[in-house]
């Protein structure tokens, strides 16, 4: 992903993406992307017109574009990411993007060495837009390529990895604070604790923890989080390690345990963040596939 053209990938910045895991696609071919666009447009049009869900009076002309994003992948072995965009053109003739989703594989190396010829592994699917479109597009992929989708949750462990990863990135001084949100279990009323840290403080802490630049270990992540927890305990006498980490947000990106991510900064560093995040999530998707 080093030679990425930032403009091509700018679309994925500053949007919330909902994560799904996808099983390998059967008989998917990059050579047929135009046909896929045509068929998917027809499918969406037909679905929208069907039955009692007809919205009379709303005149929408749906256009679907399925395209390849050759830059967005983790390594040469990975299949290029596939972008699906749903646009409407209204009478004003101005096209409006109403839904987008992309399949990607940024896991690299020998994950898919044994993948048989007819299958394409793009284990991560990220969507932005109304869920009704996600459902229609997902159904079409399911029926056409015999794959299945499932929501991908992000575990607290992975969230703490992301916190460490994003803290280590260089950002300017005006960057917004790093925020960790915890939920306290076992209470009748839901209680969330928000823990905000100045980005420079967090970076300074991370720099003392990280041994080799460009490399992160589980141990380092644990130490980093433990330091943050003990600092919080000193001030508020609350042990955050007993609560569940549900959301991490930094100037670069944010991630929620429900499987929603958003990359804010970019494009260069944003793309890097996406690739890293993808790497982290790919094995997750793969074990579920």
């Amino acid at each position: 992903g080093e030679n990425t053209d930032p403009q091509r990938i700018a679309f994925l910045l500053r949007k919330q993406w909902t994560l799904y895991s996808v099983t390998p696609l059967y008989r998917f071919s990059n050579a047929h992307l135009r046909n896929y666009s045509r068929l998917l447009s027809a499918f969406i049009a037909a679905e929208r017109q069907k039955g009692w869900a007809v919205e009379v009076g709303v005149e929408l002309d749906i256009k679907v574009a399925v395209s390849s994003l050759p830059d967005l992948k983790g390594s040469d072995q990975d299949h290029a990411a596939i972008l699906v965009e749903v646009r409407t053109s209204q009478k004003t003739s101005e096209e409006k993007l109403i839904w987008s989703g992309w399949f990607c594989s940024v896991c690299g190396d020998d994950f898919f060495e044994n993948m048989p010829e007819d299958f394409t592994c793009l284990p991560l699917f990220l969507t932005n837009g109304a869920e009704s479109y996600t459902a229609i597009v997902g159904s079409w992929f399911q029926k056409t390529f015999d794959c299945c989708f499932h929501r991908l949750a992000i575990s607290p462990l992975n969230l703490s990895w992301m916190a460490a990863m994003w803290t280590g990135c260089k950002v300017d001084k005006t960057a917004s604070a790093m925020e960790l949100i915890f939920s306290v279990p076992g209470l009748l009323q839901p209680l969330d604790i928000s823990y905000a840290i100045h980005p420079e403080d967090a970076k300074a802490l991370w720099d003392t923890v990280q041994k080799t630049p460009g490399e992160i270990t589980q141990e380092e992540v644990d130490i980093f989080m433990d330091c943050l927890y003990s600092h919080f305990h000193r001030h508020f006498k609350i042990r955050l390690s007993a609560a569940k980490l549900v959301k991490v947000s930094t100037a670069i990106a944010s991630a929620h345990c429900d499987g929603i991510i958003k990359v804010s900064l970019g494009p260069e560093i944003g793309v890097l963040a996406v690739v890293w995040t993808g790497r982290l999530l790919c094995p997750l998707a793969e074990t579920q596939a």
Binding site: Q49, W52, V56, L60, E131, T134, A135, H150
Partner: protein
């Protein structure tokens, strides 16, 4: 097609009418759509009201089903009452699937006037789904034209509105031509167009310029551009007026109400679920896709690249596959379903799967199944309460494995992942049955993934659970052995030989399973204090083990551990003792056969039974004969964990005649028979003098035991006890006397 010349007569409803007429009370009690279920705890008065409504709805439907001659509304208070019931229930809760056929048949048959028919049609608000069969019979009523044009129109409007609620649409698609013929009717034309628009699929493209026709044509053009040559306006217009029927608002209201009450009703509506729960996102309900062929235009492009072997490139769509002969006729050109998961519910496709060797078919199925199992697993995924659905799914997977006689790798992985987290309770019988289809694997894998978690649950769970585990491990063993036998037959096939399991590998894995069962059985017998019930399942397992050489051609025999053998030998129950005798008889038969093969050396034997197996067998036989026959067990048993006891020690017990205490007369499992035998042989003697059973009487007693069904004992005594002459027999009796 002449639409008013149907052969249908009003007195003969379509076939299947009565079959589909299911019990209404089933809908009330069992339904996943039952809105009462979730609120019944705190809304008892409402519930009673619902029950009353329910009863009167049943009565009303009965009335409409049976009503024969034309009745006028004004004069008939019964009809008025039932009509009001249907109307109010429909608007409040929606009608159950069973109601539609009855009411549609009445409304379209012209038995009543249009006022009643209109009222009935307006009440057709679905609570969940509408059975396809009811639509089919309605169309046939439409063809005979018993009802007025207004009612026909209203029916079409209704059908368009509720189109998505119809449970299946395959047969309706088959009526495409019928609908097409209705286009001639000017009034009906716009609605028929709308309906055809909903029904049209690619293959229907093979068939004037008003907007509704335009819409239909534009869809035709989309699917088959080569067939529609006229130019259509590029911009999408509002081709169909929203059918202004009364149903839409009622349907929404009922949906809102039932969604509030029961989360289970939501999966019916893909993509419109409430966002708060993970489970109700699109596509997260557990469902097995229907078999349908891939309507992807690209398949045609791709087909051209392949060489057409059979002189035809027309494939046979999977939806049309209904019978086994059809499968046989079209097996060379059968198009596989677009979603392979659908084979689980299609027995014909399972037959097909059994004979194809395409790896991608299994891969597609496994990818889908693996993800579905993992995502729906009720104990692996937090706040997943859909245990019944998951249970049904596991059941389906198990049945498929039985049918294919093969375990799925995705299911194996799922078991390995989920067993360590399993409580041993949730979906118990399904999980344990799936265990029996785990394919042969390496021992290290089996140990950490299967044996260790299973043992933990086994030791800490109930007697019943222990027996269930033993039962499923027995089936696992049998499945492996069957697999071995089948692959032995096809050993000449090099493809099969390349499977990673060599004979020695197989022998090792099987031996390890048997040793594992021997170990947990020993511990379980001690923990549970030797109950007969448990012993039965353990010995049942060994009934397979003792016959592996002869029945499954596997060069392996393993004796049960002493912890199993002695509790069975000294059991209080004749069933266990008889079972043990049978097992020892089969061990003997197998060992003798193996020895003969070894000696004849006709075949070069890869494997020989270790002398340890023979030695163990001999030790057990000495103990058994010593106990049951010669009354010498305490002296002669040489097994280190056996019955050998010092004579001095035995004397100190102050027991008289300790020597004979386990022979076939005095053995606690046999004494009941001995008493009955004495009563029959000496009816007048009430002293129960067991020592009378000797000499000829001893033989009579044996015959008596055999006649009581102790076949195992018979086989054992006849094979393992040398009774060549009467002399040795009397000698044996002398020692026991």
């Amino acid at each position: 097609m002449q639409r008013r010349q149907s052969s249908k007569t009003p007195k003969q409803p379509l076939q299947g009418h009565h079959k589909n007429q299911t019990d209404l009370s089933a809908w009330r009690k069992g339904g996943r759509i039952d809105p009462e279920k979730s609120i019944q705890n705190h809304q008892t008065p409402d519930r009673q009201k619902n029950d009353r409504q329910q009863d009167s709805l049943e009565q009303a439907l009965c009335y409409f089903e049976k009503v024969q001659e034309r009745v006028s509304l004004k004069k008939n208070s019964v009809l008025q009452k039932h009509l009001a019931t249907v109307e109010s229930v429909a608007l409040q809760r929606g009608l159950p699937p069973e109601g539609f056929e009855v009411l549609l048949n009445v409304a379209l048959s012209g038995k009543f006037g249009d006022t009643v028919n209109t009222c009935l049609l307006k009440s057709l608000v679905p609570a969940s789904v509408i059975p396809e069969s009811s639509i089919i019979s309605s169309v046939s009523w439409l063809c005979v034209g018993k009802c007025s044009g207004n009612i026909q129109l209203l029916f079409l409007k209704w059908l368009i509105t509720v189109f998505d609620f119809i449970d299946h649409k395959e047969q309706i698609h088959a009526l495409y031509g019928f609908f097409f013929s209705f286009l001639q009717d000017e009034k009906m034309c716009p609605y028929v167009c709308h309906l055809l628009y909903l029904l049209t699929r690619k293959e229907n493209g093979e068939s004037g310029m008003q907007s509704h026709l335009q819409a239909l044509l534009s869809l035709y053009k989309l699917f088959c551009p080569e067939l529609v040559t006229i130019t259509l306006p590029g911009k999408m217009k509002t081709y169909f007026k929203n059918s202004e029927g009364p149903w839409k608002a009622a349907i929404s209201a009922i949906r809102r109400r039932s969604q509030g009450n029961s989360p289970l009703s939501q999966p019916l509506f893909l993509g419109t679920a409430q966002p708060q729960s993970r489970k109700r996102k699109w596509n997260t309900q557990l469902f097995i896709p229907a078999s349908s062929a891939n309507r992807n235009n690209l398949e045609q492009d791709r087909g051209k690249k392949h060489v057409d072997l059979y002189g035809t490139n027309k494939s046979f769509p999977v939806e049309q596959l209904q019978t086994f002969p059809q499968l046989l006729e079209n097996i060379h050109r059968l198009e596989l379903p677009s979603q392979m998961g659908s084979v689980l519910t299609n027995p014909l496709l399972l037959h097909y799967m059994n004979c194809i060797k395409d790896e991608s078919v299994y891969l597609r199925l496994n990818y889908w199944m693996g993800q579905t199992l993992q995502e729906e697993c009720t104990w692996c995924v937090a706040d997943n309460q859909y245990e019944d659905e998951f249970k049904d799914f596991l059941e389906t997977v198990y049945k498929t494995e039985c049918f294919l006689q093969e375990g799925f790798s995705s299911c194996e992985e799922f078991l390995y992942k989920s067993l360590p987290l399993w409580d041993g309770f949730c979906c118990r019988s399904q999980i344990l049955r799936l265990v029996s289809w785990i394919p042969l694997g390496s021992f290290s894998e089996m140990k950490s993934h299967l044996y260790d978690p299973l043992a933990q649950l086994f030791f800490t769970s109930s007697l019943y659970f222990k027996c269930s585990v033993l039962e499923s491990l027995k089936e696992l063993l049998q499945n492996w052995l069957n697999w071995h036998v089948i692959h032995l037959d096809s050993a000449s096939d090099p493809q099969v030989c390349s499977l990673n399991t060599t004979l020695s590998g197989l022998v090792n894995v099987v031996a390890e399973l048997i040793q594992f069962v021997g170990w947990i059985s020993t511990v379980a017998l001690r923990l549970e204090n030797n109950p007969t019930f448990l012993l039965y399942f353990i010995l049942d397992f060994y009934e397979t083990v003792c016959d592996m050489y002869l029945r499954y051609s596997l060069p392996l025999l393993i004796m049960p551990p002493a912890g199993v053998f002695y509790p069975a030998l000294l059991s209080m129950d004749s069933v266990s003792l008889n079972q043990l005798c049978y097992i020892m008889y089969r061990y003997r038969t197998n060992l003798v056969a193996a020895k003969e093969n070894e000696q004849s050396k006709k075949k070069i034997l890869q494997f020989k039974f270790s002398s340890q197996t023979y030695q163990e067998y001999n030790q057990y036989i000495i103990a058994m004969v010593g106990c049951l026959w010669t009354s010498t067990a305490f002296q002669k048993d040489i097994h280190p964990q056996g019955l050998h006891m010092d004579e001095e020690l035995l004397k100190k017990t102050a027991m008289q005649e300790f020597k004979t205490s386990f022979n076939i007369v005095y053995h606690p499992a046999m004494m009941g028979y001995a008493v009955l035998f004495l009563q029959q042989a000496w009816p007048d003697d009430t002293t129960f003098n067991f020592s009378l059973i000797k000499g000829k009487k001893w033989n009579w007693y044996l015959e008596y035991l055999y006649a009581q069904g102790l076949k195992g004992l018979k086989l054992f005594i006849e094979s393992s006890i040398n009774r060549v002459s009467q002399a040795s027999c009397s000698k044996a009796e002398n020692t026991q006397a």
